[in-house]
């Protein structure tokens, strides 16, 4: 490390030159050290510079806005401190939207991950026209969410919808998709699942193909059936991927907007806030009521909720890593 040991190595191969001041060697050496130490940061810096501009700055600016009266058109007003947070937290709409958001998130993410793994396992087996089937599950992902919402809002129409018509055939009472909160959450979660299950299945499929095949061969010799193999080999080997999918679908799920917004003709989350999510509440405050201060407060609270869920995910990740 010290110059005493390094200097000779650096000058090896050159003719000895006692006149040369050691300082110059030190400089080039220092530059070299900087190169090694700093370059990696320089190479990844474009991401962080971009993040600072498009992520960090808006985040902090939103916090600034949330502490002022802020009209959408007239801009900044008086400083009000945490008044907007106090209002939002004290208003039932916030808690109802939080409930709806979490409910829709659970109804979409949990079945989605389970079905996606099963689907991936089926796609991983010996199928004819394998690529066709694999591409097939991705098809819903290609369809624009707006189009999906339009189709599903017709399917889930309360009185003349296809789903209720089909339920009527088997003698089930029509479900009030646009009145009952839980029913509306199921309908919206169905749209989300339709779109994302295939996508997640392909991620799982990629991870499954990385599992060494000899594990299955040994299991086969030991007499393990397909189901046993799935639960004792495939699922444990997929853990990191499951965590990845869980985290991405948490972030996406908590920010859900398109599907609930297009679920009825008004896009306000129902007359009784049945399917008003946090993002819709935010939009309503900011764009219908022109109150950017309150909307920013909701944006920050949503951010904190996502961070909280992220920390829970992290804790779960750690625990799984420990048990391995």
């Amino acid at each position: 490390m010290s110059t005493v040991t390094d200097a000779p190595t650096r000058t090896r191969g050159r003719r000895p030159d006692d006149d040369r001041p050691p300082r110059r060697i030190g400089l080039s050496q220092r530059l070299g050290t900087w190169d090694v130490k700093l370059s990696p940061y320089l190479y990844i810096s474009p991401f962080f510079v971009l993040f600072a501009i498009t992520g960090l700055f808006p985040l902090l600016y939103t916090a600034y806005v949330s502490m002022h009266d802020w009209d959408q058109i007239m801009g900044q007003g008086e400083f009000v401190g945490l008044e907007h947070f106090r209002f939002v937290l004290g208003h039932s709409d916030f808690w109802v939207s939080l409930r709806n958001t979490i409910s829709i998130f659970l109804l979409s993410s949990v079945p989605q991950v389970l079905v996606a793994i099963t689907l991936a396992a089926l796609l991983d087996s010996n199928l004819r026209a394998r690529t066709f089937w694999r591409m097939g599950v991705l098809l819903p992902y290609v369809v624009a969410p707006v189009a999906v919402s339009l189709i599903f809002s017709n399917l889930f129409a309360d009185r003349f919808g296809l789903v209720n018509a089909a339920l009527g055939l088997i003698g089930v009472e029509p479900i009030r998709w646009h009145s009952d909160p839980l029913a509306s959450h199921v309908a919206i979660a169905t749209m989300v699942n339709f779109r994302w299950t295939g996508y997640n299945a392909l991620i799982f499929l990629a991870a499954m193909q990385a599992i060494p095949r000899d594990l299955y061969e040994s299991a086969w010799i030991d007499g393990a059936g397909r189901v046993r193999q799935f639960f004792s080999i495939t699922v444990p080997m997929l853990r990191p991927t499951i965590i990845f999918v869980a985290i991405t679908s948490t972030i996406g799920g908590l920010q859900i907007f398109d599907e609930p917004r297009l679920f009825d003709q008004y896009g306000r989350g129902g007359a009784g806030s049945q399917w008003k999510t946090l993002t819709i509440y935010l939009y309503e405050l900011g764009w219908t009521q022109s109150n950017f201060g309150r909307a920013s407060a909701v944006a920050w609270l949503l951010f904190l909720v996502i961070v909280a869920f992220g920390l829970v995910n992290l804790a779960v990740t750690r625990r799984i890593a420990d048990t391995r």
Partner: protein, 424 residues
């Protein structure tokens, strides 16, 4: 893109040949200059301007018009708010709906002053007054208005044993809300169909007859304490739920649009622009007619303005185009194309409007009917800056009771009161 524009211009030439010259005079001026100018026009729903744009471009070769059409008025409102907030991105001409005109009147500096001697006396007084600020600045040129009549299914009314011809029907339902509801009670007792489509739709008719519904001109919010609002709210919900007159459909919902294909309800409040919507939804259904009557006298529902945001690069040219589009001759063309009823009294003497009939509505003389309905409108309710938000909240309250059935009138009103309190 270039080819498309050239194609439009050619099509305009072909169609413009037999158009009369007087239109050219109105448009020729003000377009001015020899430079090529592109004007953007943002509208929503149906304004019926497509052919007029081509005509204007033919007559003013230096003007190219680009038309953006939003699917709903709400989306157009959000987009305009965004552009004004960012001080960029607005179209040269922005269409504004009367229900949210007032909130934009709060920001007169964001819009060009459109007042000009040339357009003096062009519109109905109340139409102009609503777009004029206290110090005399005109924010928007009136396009259409929504005088209301009653559209009805003559076949269902006849089957239930009531007079179904236009005059007999109008006499039967009378000209007050009480008589309209009374006729409805007789009807539902004799028919499987409901009397009207949606309590929310009726609310639009009733609230537009309250002179000062939600906010006073001084800026005080009185929606939750105004006895007139409460009385109308109770009346419409009693008729809808207790008397079972409503088909319990949320207006504009998928169910609502589909219900036109069945025999769900017999009558509808019917502003001029609704004719096209009924005809579209009820395609293939026969029996629709329209009666020259409206409960509570006259009523206006909707109607729009053309504004010119001050941020645009071609304010002068945009004003010239807006002036031309809202001239009576052009607005009659729009009416014939899409049923948007002119807000310009001069148009009411034009045979093209007076003699117009509508084949879908049993050849009813719709031109004359809506002229009568427009003349019956005495005032326009005062709409303050929070009108849109408050009206949305009370519409939600009515929907909870009428469509969702998730609350009774009393608890839903309580929720409305708390929603109004949260405005700030």
């Amino acid at each position: 893109m270039l080819i498309g524009v050239a194609g439009l211009a050619l099509a305009g030439c072909a169609g413009g040949g037999d158009d009369d010259a007087p239109d050219g005079q109105a448009g020729g001026e003000g377009g001015g200059g020899g430079d090529q100018v592109t004007l953007t026009v943002a509208t929503f729903n149906e304004f019926g301007y497509e052919e007029l744009f081509e005509q204007y471009m033919t007559e003013n070769p230096n003007i190219t018009i680009e038309h953006t059409k939003a699917d709903t008025a709400d989306n157009a409102r959000d987009a305009l708010r965004n552009s004004l907030g960012a001080n960029a991105g607005a179209a040269d001409i922005e269409a504004v709906e009367v229900d949210w005109l007032v909130e934009f009147m709060q920001y007169p500096d964001k819009f060009a002053d459109l007042s000009s001697p040339e357009v003096e006396g062009r519109w109905l007084d109340w139409k102009v007054d609503a777009a004029t600020t206290d110090d005399g600045k005109l924010i928007g040129y009136g396009t259409d208005i929504g005088p209301e009549a009653i559209c009805y299914r003559a076949d269902l009314v006849e089957a239930a044993g009531f007079p179904s011809d236009r005059e007999g029907f109008a006499e039967w339902i009378g000209d007050s809300w009480e008589s309209y509801f009374a006729a409805g009670r007789e009807f539902v007792a004799a028919s499987d169909s409901a009397w009207y489509d949606s309590a929310g739709a009726l609310w639009q008719g009733m609230t537009n007859q309250i002179e000062v519904p939600y906010e006073t001109p001084e800026g005080e919010i009185i929606a939750a304490t105004n006895p007139e609002v409460r009385a109308a709210y109770d009346a419409v919900l009693k008729a809808s739920v207790e008397d079972g007159l409503s088909a319990h459909l949320g207006q504009w919902s998928t169910d609502w649009a589909q219900s036109f294909q069945g025999d769900e309800f017999a009558t509808m409040l019917c502003p001029g622009w609704m004719l096209g919507i009924i005809e579209g939804n009820a395609a293939g259904i026969e029996g629709w007619d329209i009666a020259n009557v409206f409960p509570g006298g006259g009523g206006n529902w909707g109607g729009s303005y053309l504004t010119v945001p001050a941020q645009g690069d071609h304010v002068e040219e945009a004003i010239a185009l807006a002036q031309w589009l809202t001239a009576p001759e052009q607005q009659i063309q729009a009416f014939l194309a899409k049923g948007t009823f002119p807000s310009q009294p001069a148009a009411y003497e034009d045979p093209a409007l007076v003699d117009s009939t509508n084949a879908f509505f049993n050849d009813a003389p719709t031109g004359q009917i809506f002229i009568d309905r427009a003349n019956a409108v005495e005032f326009q309710p005062y709409k303050g800056p929070n009108y849109f938000v408050i009206n949305t909240a009370i519409q939600d309250a009515i929907t909870r009771v009428d469509v969702d059935g998730s609350a009774d009138a009393e608890s839903s009103w309580a929720q409305f009161v708390s929603d109004v309190e949260a405005i700030g």
